[in-house]
Amino acid sequence: MDGPSGVADAIANPPAPCAAAAPLAVRVTGARLCFDGRPVFENLDFSLEGGVTTCLLGPSGVGKSSLLRLVAGLEPPGPGATIAAGDGGPLAGRIAWMAQRDLLLPWASVLDNVLTGPRLRGVTPDAAMRRRAHDLLDEVGLADRAGARPDALSGGMRQRVALARTLFEDRAVVLMDEPFSALDALTRLRLQDLSARLLAGRTVLLVTHDPLEALRLGHRIHVMTGRPAGIGPALEPPGAPPRPVGDPALLALQAELLGRLAS
C-alpha cells in the first residue's frame, strides 16, 4: 500500500463495513402452501416495507417459516404466486438469509465462516474482503476470535458470527428465521440490540414466536394465525428499535399481541 496505486485501491474498494443498499420493498401475492394435501396457507398476500423491520409473529407450525423460505427462494412459490421487488428488478442476489441454527462450517475458522459467501461463489477473498470481514467481527465483538474454530465458541458467539456472515453479504433484504430463539434470555436481548443496530436501514423480515422480541425489534408487527393461515394488520409500536425491555407501553402491547395470537 504505497504510492498512488494504494490510494486508487482504497477508492475502488472502500473499507466501509456496511455499505447498505437503497431500501427495497418486497411484495408477495397469492402465496400457497400445502402440507399433506391440506392448505397451510393459500392466496396469501404480504408485503415488506423498504428499509424497516417487519416482524411476523405466530405459533409454531402456522407456516411463517415457510413463507419466509418462499421469499428467500428456498421453496418454489407455487402456481399463481408472485414475489416481486419494489423497484421491479429481480430479487435474486439481493436477499440474505439467517436461520435459527447458526449453520457455521465446523472446519473453517470464524473469519473464514464470515467469508463463506464469496468462497461459495467461487471467489477467493482478497485483502479488502478480509478487512471487511474483520471489521464486521469487530462490530459483533469477536475480533479477537477470528482464528478460532466454531466449536470453541458459545451459542451466542456462534450466532454473532452468523450475523456477521449475513451482514458480509451486504444485501438489501435480510430474512431472519427465529435467529435468537435457541439462546438464553440475556444473550438473546444483547443480540437483539446488536442486530437492530447493525441492520438499521435495511429491509428486514424477522420471523419469531416471541411477542417481546417482535415488540423490541419490529417497526411493523404482523400476527399470523389459523389454518389456512391469515396475516393480520400491522401493529406499529411507538419509538425506534431496539426498544427497552422494561418499557410499560411494550408490556401493554405484549398483552394485545398475545390476544391476537390466541384468537
Partner: protein, 247 residues
C-alpha cells in the same frame, strides 16, 4: 498397552497347546521357533516385506484417489449417477479375488498386478463411503449456499466435500484394513517376490515356521498401516469428535 497383554496371553496359549499335544513342528511350530526363524531369516523376509509394503501403499494411494474422484463425479453429474452408480453397486457383488488370475494374466507377475488388486479392493469402500457422505450434506448448509448464490463447483469443493470428509475417512480406514489382503491375494496367484509369495514357497517346503514368520510380519504391517492412517485422519479432521472427544 492392553493389546500387548492380550497378544502375550494368546502366545502363551499357543505355546501351551504345542507343548501339551506334542504336535509336530511342520504342522504347528511353537511361537519361540517362529521368533527364531524371523530373527535368523530376516535377510530373506525383509526384502519380501518391502515389496509387499510398496504394493500396499501404491494400491492404497491409487485406489483412494480413483475412489474419491469417482465419488465426486457421481455426486456432481446426474448422468454419471444414472449410468455408473447401478454398475458400481452391482459390481460389488463380483468377488474381486476371482479377478486376481486375470489381472496377473494381463499385468504380469510383477508389481503392477498386485497394485491393481489392492487398488480394486480399496476402490469400492472408498467410493461408497465418500458418495454416501457427499449425498448427505446438511440441508441447512445447502439452503445457506442457495441463499448465497453458490456456484456448482464451489459448492462441491467448499461445502459438500469438506462436509463429507468424515465419511471419506471411514472409507479410508476400511481401505487401509483391506489393502494388505488385496496385495497378498495377488501374490498368491502369481509372483516372484512379496510376503504372499514367500508364504506359498515356504508352505510347499513344509517350512511352517517361515510361513508363520511371514504372517507375523504381514500382521504387523497391516496393524501399523491402520494405526498410521487412523492417527493421520484424526489429525487432519480435528473438528470431528471421536467417542465424544475432539483432538
Amino acid at each position: 498397552m492392553r493389546a500387548l497383554v492380550t497378544v502375550a496371553v494368546l502366545l502363551a496359549v499357543w505355546q501351551g497347546v504345542v507343548a501339551a499335544t506334542g504336535v509336530p513342528r511342520f504342522i504347528l511350530p511353537p511361537p519361540g521357533r517362529v521368533a527364531t526363524t524371523l530373527w535368523s531369516q530376516w535377510a530373506v523376509i525383509g526384502p519380501h516385506a518391502l515389496t509387499t509394503l510398496a504394493e500396499i501403499l501404491l494400491g492404497l494411494l491409487l485406489g483412494a484417489a480413483l475412489g474419491a474422484a469417482a465419488a465426486m463425479t457421481i455426486a456432481q453429474f446426474a448422468a454419471a449417477r444414472r449410468w455408473l452408480l447401478p454398475v458400481l453397486v452391482a459390481s460389488q457383488a463380483v468377488p474381486v479375488f476371482a479377478l486376481a488370475p486375470i489381472l496377473v494374466l494381463w499385468l504380469g507377475y510383477g508389481m503392477a498386478s498386485k497394485v491393481a488388486m489392492a487398488c480394486l479392493v480399496i476402490f469400492f469402500p472408498v467410493v461408497l463411503a465418500f458418495w454416501d457422505g457427499l449425498r448427505r450434506t446438511e440441508p441447512g448448509w445447502l439452503d445457506l449456499a442457495r441463499s448465497m448464490d453458490a456456484r456448482p463447483w464451489a459448492l462441491l469443493w467448499r461445502l459438500r466435500v469438506p462436509a463429507a470428509l468424515p465419511a471419506l475417512a471411514s472409507g479410508l480406514r476400511m481401505a487401509a484394513a483391506v489393502a494388505p489382503i488385496g496385495a497378498v491375494i495377488g501374490e498368491w496367484v502369481g509372483a516372484s517376490r512379496g510376503l504372499g509369495f514367500l508364504m506359498l514357497q515356504a508352505n510347499a517346503r513344509m517350512q511352517t515356521d517361515m510361513v508363520f514368520a511371514a504372517l507375523a510380519v504381514l500382521a504387523v504391517l497391516a496393524v501399523a498401516l491402520y494405526t498410521l492412517v487412523d492417527a493421520g485422519l484424526r489429525r487432519a479432521l480435528p473438528w470431528i469428535p471421536y467417542d465424544g472427544v475432539k483432538e
